[in-house]
Symmetry: C2
Subunit: 120 residues, 2 copies
DNA sequence: TTAAAGTATAGAGTATAGTCTATACTTTAA
DNA sequence: TTAAAGTATAGACTATACTCTATACTTTAA
């Protein structure tokens, strides 16, 4: 698919997709048998990658970190052991963020309880 | 306390504290009885405010959002009902972020499971 | 066939959240 | 008393993640 379709199917703007491509998070392939243009074609994997980017951002990872995850995931250069290590690290980071968010929630609930009775 | 002490007790750099002060997230009071300088004095509440800023950032709120929370919390201009509404909204947002992070964790665990058996 | 829409590249501009530097004045300790 | 350390303000600079504009070429539909 071309970038327009990728944009529509992911809900991510063409500008942002090109930004991701420049950073190396996704990549389209130019069909060399076509001589009239250099349009880039994206496969189904691009949809998956954009989804991983979205989730990664939600988890608080930077694009640089997400790039590393994608590389270790798709490259094939890492051994399964290295892949496992990468994933375990990321899972631990997400768990850590969940823990911190739960603390924040506790703080907010505590603040909420103090409303009405006395002042802060 | 002066900014140096506030920085040491919070672990936040003087530069960053001044940045927060410029944005209106914290504020020191100049002692007008002192005529030789315009040094700013921060009370214990400043420590609390910096802690809330830290937690808020961890929860994924922007400084602008945190400012609103601090204002509604400390201003005294809001009615308890309005304060409750603000807090409920923020608590719901944090819960939402926790839910999303749990989804991300699920995705990562799924990816992890696929390592070793077959390819991705 | 030509005007509109799509694609590519490069680079400028924006928002957020700092971080650092320069300058000037004040306080403090040797 | 003076050199070092602290404080204040303004503004420049950085990094991240976009977002937009200009330019040029290609495809497509009327």
């Amino acid at each position: 698919m071309l970038i327009n379709e990728l944009s529509k199917r992911t809900g991510v703007s063409i500008h942002t997709l090109r930004y991701y491509e420049n950073l190396g998070l996704i990549s389209g392939a130019v069909d060399e048998t076509v001589t009239t243009n250099r349009y880039k074609n994206y496969g189904e994997d691009a949809l998956e990658r954009v989804e991983i980017i979205r989730e990664g951002k939600e988890a608080g990872f930077t694009l640089a970190e997400i790039k590393k995850m994608l590389e270790s995931w798709y490259s094939g250069t890492l051994t399964p052991e290295e892949q496992l290590k990468t994933m375990d690290k990321k899972i631990a980071e997400v768990e850590n963020r969940i823990r911190k968010l739960k603390d924040v929630k506790k703080l907010l609930v505590r603040m909420r309880k103090e409303i009405g009775k006395g002042e802060c």
